[in-house]
């Protein structure tokens, strides 16, 4: 059977810097896959490549049997891959509902009839708990609301695959619980999710599979339990005790 989503041997170099080296990623439908790794590991670069904002230097991204790398972000979005941004980027001067309407009106393969768009936008805002703020300008929302708004805007494009880039960062514990609930709800509605996440509690709670990147190389993959026990992962995060001076490959 052809895989739902696959990255084959993705490499990306910026000038002389190798941001990603031969990264493979396979995602089954209806799962949540976590991508973790220290800062600068290449996680967001991977997302930019998947969503079409960047072209990979080598390798290809396959979505439902179609090669999508090289298509450009607008087409990738219409094919059913939507994303959020690590540093939130809602359309600041537009109201919450207008933000969602952009996704509804432009991000779908078959745009909705004008009549149904407002009702659908409201339904999505209700799903993320922003229906009371629909007429508020995005700029005035709190961080957690902005993050929910970004999720709503992504959901408006009727995605089959949702890319969440550190949706939990910068939130307090109560807000984290709230956003985890939202994510579980989205997953229940049949949307596959790949999420970049730093907070292990969230990864453990949500993900079936975790991929670990370090310096652009995939150093581990498996269930969350396997990955947190993996020595390479522990080393990448906190280093090793005795070898700081005599590492053979340094």
């Amino acid at each position: 059977m052809r895989p739902f989503f696959e990255c084959r041997e993705i490499s990306k170099t910026f000038g002389g810097i190798e941001a990603l080296t031969h990264v493979d990623l396979k995602v089954e439908p209806n799962t949540i896959t976590g991508v973790i790794g220290p800062n600068g590991a290449g996680k967001t670069t991977l997302f930019n490549i998947i969503s079409g904002a960047l072209l990979p230097t080598a390798g290809e991204v396959i979505f439902k049997g179609k090669k999508i790398s090289g298509m450009g972000p607008a087409r990738v979005c219409r094919l059913g891959i939507a994303r959020t941004y690590q540093l939130v980027r809602p359309f600041n001067s537009l109201s919450a509902i207008e933000n969602v309407l952009i996704g509804l009106g432009f991000g779908r393969a078959r745009p909705m009839a004008k009549r149904d768009r407002l009702a659908e936008a409201l339904r999505i805002l209700r799903m993320v708990g922003l229906e009371n703020k629909m007429n508020h300008v995005a700029e005035g929302l709190t961080l957690v609301e902005k993050k929910h708004l970004e999720i709503a805007r992504a959901l408006a494009t009727a995605p089959e695959l949702l890319l969440l880039d550190e949706v939990v960062s910068g939130l307090n514990p109560t807000e984290v619980t709230r956003i985890i609930e939202t994510i579980q709800q989205i997953r229940k509605s049949g949307i596959t999710i790949i999420m970049i996440e730093h907070i292990l509690k969230v990864v453990m709670a949500l993900c079936e599979r975790v991929v670990v990147l370090n310096y652009g190389v995939q150093i581990a993959a498996g269930t969350p339990e396997e990955v947190v026990r993996n020595e390479a992962v522990i080393e990448a995060y906190i280093g090793r005790f005795e070898d700081t001076e005599e590492r053979p490959d340094a």
Binding site: S51, G103, R108
Partner: protein, 326 residues
């Protein structure tokens, strides 16, 4: 309440229209000239705002369309074409020109875009100076003489009104929403499927139409233009300053700005000639410092504008469709 307010609003608008329509027959001939020029500048400011305000691309070369329209109309009038045919040709030429230049220009952003568009004016100006057989060179071009003050007054008011309707519908359309999203974050807009290249070009073409029309009407009325009078700094910058002073990205802004600046100019003109040029610079600095959103977004004016239902596009929703959805 809402319906009564709407009625009142309509009444005021109708009254204003009646006054404007009656003005030439009441003996205010200076008022007619003044309103004519005001409407020309207002139309330029408002059509500039589709690209400059709604889409957030500062198009300093907007007057290129005005000049193109004026020259096309003048040349065709001299060939014996009727005014409407000439205006239509002017509109078409400016639109084609806008479509052609949009491709290279919209590869640029921010200050680079603004400077490149500003250069466009000089480009066309140089062309008009050097294509002497067609345009009369630096000596300018005259059109068949005649007093067209009153008909051109009505024509320009019609174009101004049409531009307001255009601007109104663009702001409420899906297309307009896409322009706003481009202004806020073009990269994200693109990632969410907005066809940015197409829409940016379309916005420029749409904004070129009113400018080219008023250019044509302007030359029909004045019967003489020179490269300096239609490609000069005055006509290039004052509509933009009007839009910015009044408030960009909001339809009422350019109107307020245009009325304000022409009024102030009117007083300064007689007392200290040429001072208005210095004033533009001062006003620009003051806008940036004290009211970055323009007059209509200041604390005292904003509630009035909102009460009138002329506020931000965001506010339209508040009073409009969404509330009716269960």
């Amino acid at each position: 309440m809402n319906r009564r307010r709407k009625k009142l609003f309509l009444l005021v608008v109708l009254l204003l229209c009646a006054i404007l329509a009656a003005l030439p027959w009441l003996g205010f001939s200076y008022g007619v000239v003044w309103i004519f020029l005001l409407a020309v500048y207002f139309t330029l400011a408002l059509s500039y705002d589709i690209v400059g305000g709604y889409m957030g691309y500062m198009n300093l070369g907007h007057s290129t369309f005005f000049g193109l329209g004026a020259y096309t109309t003048a040349i065709l009038l001299n060939q014996g074409f009727n005014l409407f045919a000439a205006l239509f040709a002017a509109l078409l030429l400016a639109a084609v020109f806008a479509a052609v230049v949009s491709y290279p220009l919209f590869r640029l952003r921010g200050a680079y875009f603004a400077l490149a568009t500003f250069g466009l004016i000089s480009l066309i100006e140089v062309l008009t100076v050097n294509l002497r057989d067609l345009t009369g060179g630096s000596g300018g071009i005259s059109t068949p003489p005649g007093n067209h003050m009153v008909p051109s007054y009505y024509l320009v008011l019609a174009v101004a009104g049409g531009t307001m309707v255009l601007s109104h519908f663009v702001a409420r359309s899906k297309f307009g929403l896409a322009l706003f999203s481009i202004r806020e974050d073009e990269e994200v807009a693109k990632a969410f499927g907005v066809p940015t290249t197409l829409y940016k070009g379309l916005a420029l073409v749409i904004s070129s139409a009113p400018a080219s029309l008023v250019g044509g009407i302007y030359v029909w009325n004045m019967t003489y233009i020179s490269p300096n009078s239609v490609f000069g700094l005055e006509i290039a910058l004052s509509p933009i300053i009007m839009a910015m002073l009044g408030g960009t990205g909001i339809m009422i802004g350019p109107l307020v700005g245009a009325v304000f600046i022409t009024l102030v100019q009117e007083f300064l003109w007689t007392k200290v000639p040429y001072f208005h040029l210095a004033m533009y610079g001062t006003v620009l600095v003051l806008i940036g410092l004290f009211m970055p959103g323009g007059i209509v977004r200041t604390r005292w004016v904003k509630p009035v504008v909102q009460w009138l239902g002329l506020g931000e596009a965001v506010d339209y929703f508040k009073n409009g469709d969404v509330e009716r959805i269960p």
